[in-house]
Structures are given as structure tokens and as C-alpha cells.
Subunit: 213 residues, 8 copies
């Protein structure tokens, strides 16, 4: 928490035994976020721990001693292309909620149905930060970048096959976008996108507090 971001445990490369060991050592009262916790690994944890964790099977995140659900107007919109991107969008949303930030989920607005995105342009514009989540060719990033003037954090996802397998095409589309000022995080990194948004919000808060700007 040295940077105002509560430490998260990346479970992707840890065994259930190691995760159990970590949870036991931190104790049940510290708020803790676990990411990339596969259902099969979650089910291996002892019941005692499973009951303490708020586990979400879509995003593979678990929260220990998290805050109450955030309320009020959402400063952040999470805009995603298709249902295949839902796990990553949800990882971002859960990370935000864990840090006390509400968000608006705007789903299924892929570019193949451009009118669905255009219909939501005003809604999107009512936020302060956009997290955009898309796989395949990632055209959503450029279209959003040309439509709204807000900070946009692009999260390429690994959904796709053939040349889009693994997410490199979506990543490179985001980085090479003709729309100026997009920023990008690693493939499938919903957690990182949320942290980047929180850095921006914290920086704004600090400013308002000290009267600068």
C-alpha cells in the first residue's frame, strides 16, 4: 500500500498450497485482492479460507475483507467489445471496487456493429476516465480515441485465433492507433488498467486538496 494501491496477489503461478500459506500469514483482517485464481485452484483451498473470500468466477478474482460496494456516480467507464472480453473487463471492475471506486460497465459495443457504440457516445462521455477492453483486431480503441477526449486506457485481450491468437494484434493496434493520446497496458491486464485509473484519480484528488490546477 506504499503507493496508495493495496498489494494484490497474482495467483497464476502459485499453487493452492502457496496461496493458503500467504493467506494464513497475512491474517483475515487485512484487505487483500487475489487475481488469476482459477476456479479449480479456488476449490482446492480449505473451506475455512473459501468462506472468508468473496470469489468471482467470471474474473477469477477473490477479495478478502474488502470494502462495501462503492456508491455514487461512477468516474470510470469500462467499455468492452464482446462477451469474450467480459472476464478482463470484470477484473478491472473488481479491482476498482476493491479500492472503493464505482464504474459503469458498457458491453458488447464492438466495431462490427458501429451503431451500438455511437448510440452510447453520450453515456460514455459522462465519465472522467475510459478503460477500453477489446480483443481480435482491437479497432474499438481507435474508434473510441477519435470519439472522446477523455483519458483512455486500452486493455487488449487474448481472445481470437489465427493472427489474433494471444492478443498481440489487439495490443499493436492500441499502441499504433491513429487516434492521439491512447495509453495501453499488457494483454488481459484488467488489474493494471484499474491501477492506472486509480493513479489518475489520486493525482486529481491530491491536486484539488492543495488548491492547485
Amino acid at each position: 500500500a506504499r503507493l496508495g494501491l493495496t498489494e494484490a496477489i497474482f495467483c497464476g503461478s502459485k499453487s493452492a498450497a502457496q496461496i493458503e500459506h500467504i493467506l494464513d500469514s497475512v491474517g483475515p483482517t487485512l484487505p487483500l485482492l487475489l487475481t488469476r485464481l482459477e476456479p479449480i485452484k479456488f476449490d482446492e483451498l480449505p473451506a475455512r479460507l473459501r468462506h472468508q473470500l468473496d470469489y468471482d468466477r467470471l474474473s477469477h478474482t477473490a477479495i478478502l475483507a474488502g470494502p462495501p460496494p462503492p456508491t455514487g456516480d461512477a468516474a470510470i467507464a469500462i467499455v468492452s467489445g464482446g462477451t469474450s472480453d467480459a472476464p478482463v473487463a470484470q477484473e478491472a471492475g473488481r479491482t476498482l471496487a476493491f479500492h472503493g471506486h464505482a464504474c459503469t460497465m458498457i458491453e458488447d459495443v464492438g466495431v462490427a456493429g458501429l451503431w451500438r457504440l455511437l448510440e452510447r457516445q453520450a453515456l460514455i462521455g459522462r465519465h472522467r476516465i475510459i478503460i477500453a477492453v477489446a480483443g481480435m483486431e482491437g479497432a474499438l480503441f481507435s474508434v473510441l480515441g477519435g470519439l472522446v477526449a477523455l483519458p483512455i486506457i486500452a486493455v487488449p485481450t487474448s481472445t481470437g485465433y489465427g493472427v489474433t491468437t494471444g492478443g498481440m494484434t489487439a495490443l499493436h493496434s492500441a499502441l499504433g492507433s491513429c487516434a492521439p493520446g491512447l495509453t495501453v497496458v499488457n494483454i488481459d491486464n484488467g488489474y493494471g488498467a484499474a491501477c492506472a485509473a486509480i493513479r489518475i484519480l489520486n493525482s486529481q484528488r491530491a491536486r484539488k486538496g492543495d488548491g492547485q490546477g
Copy 2:
């Protein structure tokens, strides 16, 4: 011309001497298309040949004994993202003209200024085939694919830098597009896109001639 496509000379890997030799051997009356003929190489050719050639410095194409400019309504629209894509778009246009086909050039409709593209949607729809030319992240392909039901031949271009250097990102965006039914040719291959369009037009003509369909 066995396939209804007049043979073209790819000059990219030939010396001026070799090109001179080829032109001398075919004789001045055969229609001939030369592509990838750099200005510096064109200038090395003997004056006698230079005067016979209709050379275009933007697209690096030269035409020998070509047909008169095509007239009438254009069946093909060439839609491109930015001025950097102009040489490739022009290579496609010159190849079409060489084969007697008119085209409509619709330029500077990149996705970063989406409204410019949307304003031209009706114009684009008045054609039978679309050749789409774009570099960088190639988002134009997906947006077009979601807007019009026509056959779309995507030509990724090599313009860009960093991750978009060389055109692989635009190529992969076209191939992995979430819009169904796009087809793609090699990077910078305006010539090939025009040939593909001619294959479609010829197939349609043959059909109408034989009363099928």
C-alpha cells in the same frame, strides 16, 4: 494475359538495364504495366523508352501502350486513410485504369476523424467493390466492414513506426477483423487488390453473358 489479366513487370528487384532489355524484347505495341519503378531507376532508362512510357511518380507505375482513360460510372471505390497511403491507392487505381476500369478515389477518411468517413458512407455504397487502403493500426478496415455489405479488399500499407513499422499490424488487423467477410492482400499490394477486383468484375460479366446467376 491467359487469365484476362495483362502481365505486369515488377521492377523492384530488376536493374534499369534489365528493364530496358525486357521493354526492347516485348516491342512497343504490346500494352504493358510496370510497377515499383523508382523515379531514380526510371530516370536511368534511355530517353527513347522514357518517352513511350506513361510514368506516374506518386505510384511508381509506368504504362506502355495503355488504353484511353476509362469513362462512365465507376464500379470500384478506393477508400484510403491518409496521405501516406496515397502511393498504394494510386497503384491500385492505375492498375484498374490500365485494364479499362474507372474508380472513385475517396481519401483521408481515417478512423481518428470518424465523422469524415460516416459523411461518405452513401457515396461509398454507390459502388460494387471497395478497395480499402490503410496503414498504422488498420482500424479503417473493420469500420468499413461494419458499415457496408459490399465486397471489401483490404490493402494494409507499410506506413507507421514502432509496432506498426512495415505494415504487419495493419495486415493482422485486416485478417483478424471482427467484421465478417473482409478479404486481404499483401502489404502495399495495390496492384494485387486491383487484380482481385477485376477477377470479381470478370466473373460477374461472364455470368451475365451466359444467362446464369
Copy 3:
């Protein structure tokens, strides 16, 4: 269906529960095409849905409320190299049938047995559009492109090992072919090739209706 192409559900990255949810929400009367539906995932669907679906285990496609089998002369030939390419060729064929188009399947004409392909040259030429399906080094695309003047849509497949693993070599062979005017879709994208063929057919129909050409 905004583009004359009925929407398809890509099941590759959806769970059986999500697919069940989608099928229930669209209702049983809407024609629907499902692609990349693995047998194991199909078997997880409730019997009630399985009985409504026309499922094909070779191509991993399922059709809900599809049209009767198309009749009459086929405008499209699907030409493939080997039995390993059959699932992709079949995905293309099923997508065509779903949209009411017949096709001719011409299989096992890989280049290693060139005479088998040459023997079928006349048969292939009796169609208006060719969908070519091949893996490994994809030499079939260039040979076909040099033999017939029709529109050719190349579908590289991911069959192969070593340098041909995953289909990039077949893809690059199709894109870099010395035969002019080939067009290409993503690796294993039989669905997209069929959509591209339908775009061409629809464009031709529109034309004949309005007397242009």
C-alpha cells in the same frame, strides 16, 4: 443481418452456460449459426437445445432454424488440399448453406499430387467463385491462381508442424503468391471466406437487378 449476413455466434471463447443463455434469449425461430462449438461443449448443452440444433461434428458448427438444403447449380467451389483441411472447408460449406448457397466440394487435390488437381481444372472452372483451403506450405493457392481466372478466396489452415505449425506459412504463401489477384482471410476462417463469397454474390445480384454492369 444488417449487412445481408445473418449474425453468427463464435463459441470458441464462450462457456456452455453462456451459449445456453444466448440461445434462450434469441428464441427458437430466429435462424442462427454457431461456429467453433466443440463436441464436448455441445454435449454440455441441455437436451432441449441440442434437439433444436443441427450440429455437425466435423466442422463444429450448429444451425438453429436454418433454411432447407440449397438446390440448383453451385456458384461456389470449395477446393481443399487434404483430409486435415476438411473441418475448415466444411465450416465454409455450412456457412454457405445456412445463407442458402450451394457449393461443390473438391477435396484431396494437394500439390504433391499435381495431376489430381489438373484433372479437375474444367470442373473448377464451371463455378463463379473459388474458396481454396490449404495448410502446410499452401502451394495450392498459387497453383490455382495460375490456373483459373475466377475470384479466389484463400483460407490458410493451421495443419502442419515445425515451421508450418499454426498456419503462418500457409497464410504468408497466400498473401505473397506470385499469382495476381488472390485474396486471403484469417487462418482457419472458413466462416469468413463464405461471408466474403456471399458479399460478392450479393453485389452481383444487386447489379443485375438494377441493370448496371
Copy 4:
């Protein structure tokens, strides 16, 4: 300027003649930013245009009818690793100045001399946004990300040789950083990093104006 970002002309793939044409068509009073304008290309422009342009040989940027130099406390720090990164850092700085934003340049704080960076930690922390510019292995991004809680926009540069040639290693280091919440732009894209920072500042201003937060 539709997004509050004045349009920039990317000159990397334009000839001097094309640039002259664009400048003549916009007229001399519109503020205009030109990027990637090589000295040799600048020198080809007619004297009449050269005199109107504020050209910077380090960053290869030119400004037409730009604002007076920004004054007051800088909200943005540009932190870079070595003198090879100076052109990219300067492109970011010039883009900011063109939009009226001051910045603090903190140079030569590469990780090989970690103490130089640690000595400037307090100075860096007095800003609201960090633009970090580094090539080679890009370790600077992770170190900064672990030291400060501010929004960090990483700009990988193409300086390096062998495995770091072209900037992919620095790019991947930034994207895969173990420090949470870094965001990244394309290799050498100082312009884009500045635009991203401006998006954040504008979003903060909008907020304060409308009393939200």
C-alpha cells in the same frame, strides 16, 4: 481540434512538396504542430515557410503560430534515461508547450546509476503526471513505478542494438512491468505521451469546473 488536441502533421512519410502544400492550404495563422520533420526535409522547404516555422533540430518538430512559452509551475515531469532518449523526450516537451503546458525535464537518470534517480525522487514527486522515456531494456519504468504513486506514461525508445534494436524490449518491459498501473505508448511516441498527459489534465480541469470529484 475536435478533441481539444490541435491536429499534428506527421511528416515522416510525406515529401517536402507535400508538406509545403499542406502548409500553404491551412494558412499561416492556424496553430500547427509538425512532427518527424527531418532536418534535410526542413531545409528543402522554401525560405518563406522556413521563416514562419519554429523548428527544433533535436526533436524534429516545427511549430507554426504557436503560443508563447508556458509559464508557471509544471504539472508534468519528463524523466529520461540517457542522452540518446533526448529527441523523444523533447518531442513530448514541444507537444506540451504547443498546447500551453509547461514541463520539467529530468535527464540522464538511467538505472545503471540508480543513485542519480533516487536523488531526484522528491523533485519528481512534486508533479502531477510523469512521462518516462527510456530505451535499451527499459528498467527505468519499473523503478519509477515502484517509487512514485503518480500516473506514469512510459515511452519506450528505439535506442539500442542486438536484442534491444528497434525498441521492442523497452516496450515489453514497460507493458510487463511488475510495478502496477504503468501505461504505455508506441515506441518513440513522445507526441502521443504528451497527448495522453493532456487528456488527463483536461479531464481534471473539466471536473473542477463542474464541481464533481
Copy 5:
């Protein structure tokens, strides 16, 4: 043992039957190190062999007739970034112990928590050789290289996802580091790093023995 390095059996690409065959043919008294022996493969070995082997489930190494645990001051420090790197660090440690060399394990000093590494700087400096183990973006290598003057052998690990999947980013960071004089071994090659350290120690011993220096 011709080079003073006892032969090791790489079990990654061998069946349990082949490993059994090798163990039976060498006989139980020869010291032998087995690496990359998956637990599942170990469990397939006959009980008679399993009882002779000192198997370590973290590093997937097994030792037959190994020496007693090394005692005395450790000449080598193994410094690693996170718990995901523990198997590789342990493979290095076990290889050293098998050859009679003690080591100090310094774990969880990744760059995202730079102060944890700085606090251990003096401890690290009390050794003669550093083996550094890190995955993801591998920033640890450069930071260590700038902090200590000792020989550093970098072992990139394959932990990570997206652009860091498989370890190439960590590898390239180590090779392209701005800190001079780092050396590198293959991804996940804890065994090789230990061998490299032993080559250095043996060279030093030889020297002292023959009075040179």
C-alpha cells in the same frame, strides 16, 4: 565429469521408463543429478528407485548419492524477484549443493518494492558471485548490475503473461541491460547458472593453487 561438472540428466523429454533405464545402468553409487523431473514422472518410478533419490518437489530435481549438505560461508548469493521464481532459484541452489557449494537465498526483492532490495545490498555484497533470478520484465537484473560490482549471472524466468509469456522479455532485458558486464543464461536455466558459477569458482581455485593472479 570431464570438466569438473558432474553429468546431469535432463528428464524433461524422457519417459519414466527411460529414466529408470538410465538409473539402473549407472548403478546406485555414482553421484547423479536429475533435473526437470516432474512430480508425476517421479511418482511413476519404481519404489526401489524413489527411495534412493533425494527428490525436491519445488525445483523438480532429484539427487542420487549426493554429498552431505555444504557448510561454511556461502560464496554465492541467489537473489530472486518473487515466489514464482522460487523453482528456478531452487534448481540453481540444488545444483550448487550437489557440487558441494553453499549459497545464500535472498528472495522476494523485486523492483516494485525497491526498498526491500536496497535493504539487502550489504548482505548481497558479502558474496563473490551473484545469481539473479527474475521473470516478467526482468528489471531486477539492471538494478543489481548498477548496485554491485560482483560477477552477476542473470537467469530470466518464464513467469508472466501477455508480452512477458515464456520469458523472452526478461531474457532481452538481461541481455540489453544498461548496466555493464551482466552475463545471461537460457530462460529458466537455474542449472546452467550454477554451472557457470562453479566454472568461476574452479578457475579461482586453480589460480590460487598455482600461485598466479
Copy 6:
């Protein structure tokens, strides 16, 4: 010459001064083959050496004290796709001649004009070894492999653009060919293909000499 192959000097990475030094040290009577000697570098050599060398501007090879031109029936056919492949085909031919072997040059038989290749099938079959030279997508290799039962040594060339730039597509096509028993050398390595053919011929001669077979 220890392997029956006279040593060749690869000049690609040597300066004219270094080449001069080598030629002076071997003396003028030793037969010597120089490859990759650019015209500009050849012209830098002192006249005294230039006059001793038999230099070929197409293949960039030079021969010192070579044998008289080989006579008699050629055992080797060099089959190439287009005029861009001529330099590499010629490097192979010159290497063969330098070692006393005749060859038949069969050019411009690329797959886009398949009939040109089929017309030469009988001619090709009158040889004992085929060296096949092709760039772009390298379909020639597979077609040849399916037509003739002879040993085929494929030389991919670097001619091409976009996805075929540099020769990797032609290389992978040759390696992944569906025709069984093709062998392959490095991109543009006409020299190596000739050496491979000579290894086969020498092995055959040895056999006949010792009465085996």
C-alpha cells in the same frame, strides 16, 4: 579443400583492403572462389588483382585461377522462378563450374505460369540433381517435388515485399512442403546448394569407384 570442396572467401563482411590482403597471401596460382563481392568493392581492388580475377557482375562472384569451362552432359539442372532469382541461380552455377561441374539453367518457370514449367518437365528429368531457386511464396519447390523423383535442393531467395520480405516465407514453404524429400539451404545460398550437389556427386563417384552400390 579437406572435404573435396575448395575453400571459398565470403566477402560480404570484409573490406576491399582485407580481400586484397587475403588474395596477396594465398598467391595467384591457388584456385580460389570469392562470393558476395559487390561490384563497388570489386572496383576498389587494385588493377593488378582485378585483372587476375574472373568477375561476374550478376552473381557477385570472382574466380582466381579457375578451371576451364566444364563440358559434357550436365548432371545438375538449376531451375528458377523469375529474373529476380537470377543472381542466386548464377552463384550456384559459378560454384559448380569452379569445381568442374556443368549445369543446365532453366529460368522463368514460376508457378504463376504453370504451363511453362510443365513444358520443361522432360528436360528437367534428364538430370541427376535439381537445384531449385525461388523467392516470394516458393510454390515452385512443392510443384517440382511432386513432378520429379530426383534429389531437389531448394534455395529460397530474399526477393519479395510485405510478408515475403527477406525470404522467410519461401524458406518455410520449402521446409514445410507437402512434397516428400525436399532438402533446403539458407536464403540466397546458391553457393551452399552447389556444395550440397557436389557432396552428392562425389559420394556417387566414390561408390562407383569401389564397386559398391
Copy 7:
């Protein structure tokens, strides 16, 4: 068998049902070679077919109605680096035996124990063709190429991890070898190497028969 090479069935991408179908259609008396037939797939075949097949679990090959084991002096040596390369070496050996050719297996002569290879130099030299099989960095190819003057067909294998995963490093080492005249087949392609050797032997036989050479 049109090229003197009996057709082989590549089972890697075929289901047990498809293989059963092929075997039933060819009938039990035609000699047939099946490659890449995984044990699990072999076990799925009906007993009636399993009993007709000569199946080899090491190389994953099956032979139907094959010839008696070849006798007499072996013309071909198969030289391999380690036990991990045994399956590929064996695939080559089984393909040779299926075509009636004997071979000598020379195993475990990797370069890390150079003396083991040097001790077998004379034995290797008593053959007419060398098939060399090696994974990891493939240094064996260059060492062999420098030691013997015979035709060498290099088969890179996919054994390795980190940078050698999948066999590309061994492949590129073979192709880029400093030893002149090596030829190369696809990664793990023991079948293809055997076919290439048979092409050479057949070419030699034809020659001796017709008195040329």
C-alpha cells in the same frame, strides 16, 4: 508411389475413425506407412487393424504389409545427439526400412562430449549419406559438416526449452552453418530426411544402370 516413394499417411491431424476409414479403403495388401500415430490413437483402432499393423511406440510409426527387414551393408548412417532425439531418428530409420534400405544408428554423440563423436568419425565415413538429428542449439550439424565430405541431411528436433523451444534454433543453426553444403528438412521431419536420402540413392542407381556418371 509415382515418385518411387510409397505414399505415407500423416496421422497427426486425423481422428482414429478417419484412419480406420483410410485403412479399410486401401485394403490390407498394399504396403502403407503411417506416421505421427500417437499410442493413444493407435489403441483406439479396432483390434482387427491393430493386429495387421507393425506399430513402433518410440517413433509413432505403423507399417502395413511392409517388406522384410533390409539386410546387407547400410548406405545410410543416422547420427543423433541425445536420447531425446531418438523418436525422430527412429522415424527416419523406419521410413528407410519400409523402403528396403538398411541404416546404421549412431546415437548420443552430442557436441558437449565431442570426443564421443570424434571416436566414431571412421565408422560414420563408411557410409554414403548421413542423416544428422539434433535439437537444442544443433551444433552437431556444423561439426559433422566440417568432419565428413558426404551428403548430410540435417533434421533439427523440437527438444529444448527457453530459446530452443520448438526447434527453431536448431533449424537456423543447420541452415546458417559455417560448414558448406549441409541440407536441411523441417523440424522433427525424420520421414522427410529418409525420403531425401532415398531420392539420392535412387538417382545414383538410375545412373549406374544407364552407364552414365
Copy 8:
């Protein structure tokens, strides 16, 4: 000099003006090493600076106020494959000399002529550290690693063409070597290899001074 390694100036990405500025600011008495200083850039420096610099045109290094040439037995052997590797070998040698260390240069011992290397085995073994320099397929690294027990620092070079262009094959061969305990630096990084050797020597000296071992 904080790590006992005098700071070096990498001139590859600096202009002559910048280098002049750096030299002027450090003053003429500080020992300074400049690397990657192209002859053309050196010639642009003012005569006053050129005269102070000890410039070496082979390795592109310049030394300011360097020590006298090192004398006595060399602890380090630099072993290289061909004359194309000489610049990199020399960069290593010059870096060592600048730090006061002698070295033995052993050149032209590439693996294609294995006997030349074997003849020098004893000479090589009389040193304490080996720096091995090789391009193309880098087989030299594995052969050396199997022959000598000393610490080996492999420097892959960028010499080669086709698959060996740029040095990645040599790099991967070094990293994936079957010989245990090789360490590797970046492509063409002679400077880094020398620094790594100096780290080892310094560590040994420290030890002997403090009586440990």
C-alpha cells in the same frame, strides 16, 4: 567508476557535436573509453580532440588518457571464429587494455575447420577466462564449452545472412547450448564481455586479498 569499471561513452546514437560536448565537459585528463564511434563520425570531430584520442578503426573504439599497454601473462583469451568477427573481438580486447588487462587473441578457429581449434586447445587452457566471439550459427560456443572447464563468456556477432542475419541464431545457440555453464552477452557486445571478465577478475582479487576462498 563506482563499480570499478570506468564509465564508457556509447557513441552509436550520439552526433559528433554531442560527443565533442561530452569530451569537452569531462576534460582531457580523465581516462575515458568511447565505443561504437564510426570512422566518419570520428573524422567530424575537431582536430584538437582527434589528436588526444587513441582511435582504432577496426573496433570503432577511442581511448582518452588510457593506461600504458598491459604487460605480463594474459589471464583472458579471446577466441573468435572468422575475420568477420574481428571488430567485436577487438572491442573486447581494447576494453580490457583500457582497464589494464592483457589478453591473448586466438582467431580464425571456426568449427568448419575443427582441427584448427583442436590444435589450440592447450593454448586456450592456459588462461583463466575465455571470451568466445562467433557469428552465423555459433557452433563454436558449444564446442569450446565441451572442451574447456574455464568460465566462458559468449559474444554472438551479427555477421551472417538469411536466417543468421542480425545475430539471433548465434545468440540462441549460445543460450541453448548443450554444454553446461556458458554465459552470454548481447549481440556484438564485446565491451560487455570484457566488463564481465573484469568483474570475475576483481572478485578473485578481492578474495585473495581477504584470505578467503
